[in-house]
């Protein structure tokens, strides 16, 4: 009995001791600007998390950790596996335990929403590196988005289609928030410019076989099909599109750039050729800023590796954080950092003339019209048109 008691108390003591060991050491806050980076590095969204992580890490590597004499920037990385509960808890820990000045990462909208209250309460700016739901930046005055919204890509896609001879279109999206968002955006852009939507289907996220959907769409006889599906499903969609005979009949396959990521395109089958997308980035962008970026990327991640729209958001977000840290120093308060971030201008951004609109705290950038063509035997995005920098249309249609 006594032995048991001793063993038990010993176990409890051991537990506490190990917990103290696990607790991070508190660095002096004076000379280190701490940034908390949270993304799904495991789980079903690992590809997204990995992408923004690479972009961010590349920036850190190229620019180093010394932002000014005696001041360093430290990025604390945490994996939340794409689970919003984790996101919230980890954010709390980053703020309370690690004393970060800025939180970044955030690949998905649910994770962003899970954070909004904390960010507002703690007055910590959150730099969204992905997370594309338009209303997200309104859920907290401390959110700044560096990626894009579904409306920024799908709406111009609709406009483009209507203005280029497509009178009748059908849409097929994955049945989740981002998919539904882009479906609505495309519809508005398309119908506002004279087009007519003849079918709008939503496929469950678990779908892997799209042929039945394409058969159904075929019956509506559209001139273009707008698609937006969750990660990894595009080859199946493109194949189904061809198998149903739609490609042969001259129907255009269009969509936002999310499904034609430059790195993933390389390994996709030739079925995706001809896919037209409206995207915030293309790896082949000829600007000097992008050429330097791609060069650094290949040097770090391999000659055959390519960045994509999410990786470049990570890069740009990091550059804004570095700028704020440099300008304000490690003792800065949340409101000042927020102001700096909200007024960011990316003069040498790989995405061209990108900047943040201080009123909506959302990104403003030029949209590229890309077409997938076979280049050196592999599918790749070729930009054939570029629009002027534009804000998120959703906010224009839904004023606060």
């Amino acid at each position: 009995m006594r032995i048991r008691l001793v063993a038990v108390l010993g176990a409890v003591a051991g537990l506490i001791a190990s917990a103290e060991l696990l607790a991070p050491t508190y660095a002096l806050a004076d000379d280190v600007f701490k940034v908390g980076f949270m993304a799904p590095l495991s789980g079903p969204f690992a590809a997204l998390g990995d992408s923004i992580d690479r972009g961010a890490r590349l920036y850190e590597k190229v620019h180093g950790n010394n932002i000014s004499p005696g001041v360093t920037i430290q990025v604390i990385r945490r994996d939340d596996a794409g689970v919003p509960d984790n996101t919230r808890r980890i954010a709390q820990e980053l703020i309370v335990r690690d004393n970060v000045k800025v939180i970044t990462g955030i690949a998905l909208s649910p994770q962003g929403f899970a954070l909004s209250k904390i960010a507002t309460e703690a007055k910590i700016p959150v730099v969204l590196m992905n997370a594309t739901t338009s209303s997200l930046t309104r859920s907290s005055p401390y959110f700044v988005r560096f990626s894009y919204t579904q409306w920024q890509t799908a709406y111009p896609m609709g406009v483009w289609a209507a203005k280029h001879g497509v009178k009748v279109a059908a849409s097929l999206v994955a049945d989740y928030a981002a998919g539904v968002d882009s479906e609505a955006a495309f519809k508005k852009g398309f119908e506002d410019n004279g087009g007519k939507i003849v079918g709008a289907d939503r496929a469950p996220m678990v779908t892997t076989d799209y042929l039945p959907f394409m058969e159904r769409i075929k019956a509506e006889k559209p001139e273009a099909v707008f698609v937006f599906v969750n990660n990894g499903r595009m080859p199946a969609v493109a194949k189904a599109f061809n198998d149903a005979g739609l490609k042969a009949a001259g129907v255009k396959l269009v969509g936002p750039g999310d499904n034609a990521l430059d790195d993933e395109l390389q390994t996709m089958p030739a079925d995706v050729e001809g896919f037209i997308t409206a995207a915030t980035y293309a790896a082949g962008n000829p600007s000097q800023g992008n050429r330097d970026f791609v060069k650094a990327w290949k040097a770090e991640y391999g000659e055959n590796s390519l960045p994509n729209v999410t990786a470049v958001s990570g890069w740009d977000a990091m550059s804004a954080i570095y700028a704020a840290a440099k300008e304000l120093g490690p003792g800065a308060d949340g409101a000042a950092i927020l102001k700096s971030l909200s007024n960011w201008k990316g003069t040498s951004s790989p995405r061209g003339d990108a900047s943040v609109d201080p009123q909506t705290r959302d990104i403003v950038l030029p949209i590229k019209m890309n077409k997938v063509e076979i280049v050196n035997g592999k599918p790749a995005n070729v930009t054939f048109e570029e629009e002027a920098p534009a804000k998120d249309p959703w906010k224009t249609f839904n004023p606060e």
Binding site: A46, P212, G232, A248, T267
Partner: protein, 292 residues
Amino acid sequence: MNVSETLISILFTGTAYAMVLYIISVGLSITMGLLGIANLAHGAFAMAGGYLLITLLNRLTLPFGLALVLSAVIVAGFSVVLERLLYARVYKAGEFDQVLLSVGLIFVASAIAQYVYGPIPKTVAVPLSLTGNIDLGLRTFPVYRIFLVATGVAIFVMLLIVIERTNIGMRIRATVDNRAMAEAIGINTKTLFSVVFAVGSALAAIGGGLGGDMIAITPGYPLENLAYFLIVVSIGGLGTVSGPFLAALLLGIGDSACKILVPQFGAFFIYLSLFGFLLLRPGGLLNRVQEQ
């Protein structure tokens, strides 16, 4: 679309998908019926087959048929090792322990897949001779899907012949019906288990590789598709080769019908019909295993 066109679309798309499900799941049905173990990790063999096929095709540029057979053989061999080392030790343990073992295997397999191949889904480069559409008068059909249907039917027929007409098939059926009795009359059940396990895994590997462009090959494959394989097996009943065939057809065609006719129904169809079906016939369609 008029009625006959719709019908043909549904039947065709559904059957091709059904064949992939069947090829993968039939091994699971026999294994579970024969060995009595709940092997939820079966999808991992299909995933392994898919990844191996991709590696053999891309890295070693082997011809498609050879690569397919080779990947099946490698997976089969590996599965026998697993069976002897791990599964054999939980034959007598509770069902819960078997579920746990297979979940553990799924995690390990997914982690290895992610480490080696990365999280981005991979697609199989199908040989050119099987791509494109073919015009059969009524309408055009994708060649690859026709190939899948033909392969599925061929495998089904082959399995049926083996099970019903050969010695080994007889032994399998005997052991499924009554293991104790089979052992008593001298059937070497241990070797039989290993052989059946190997064949089941080989089939899964083939199904995973062939079905690669309909069921994407990602590290999450075994968990994401677990429900579908289990549905085929539980509706089809354990221990037969025909049960899963019927079940896969029902599932595939039903799924296609829903997508074409009432897509807003979404995933409800599958889960609701599973519920209804299992309640009416808990033993499955053509159950062979004696419920005690």
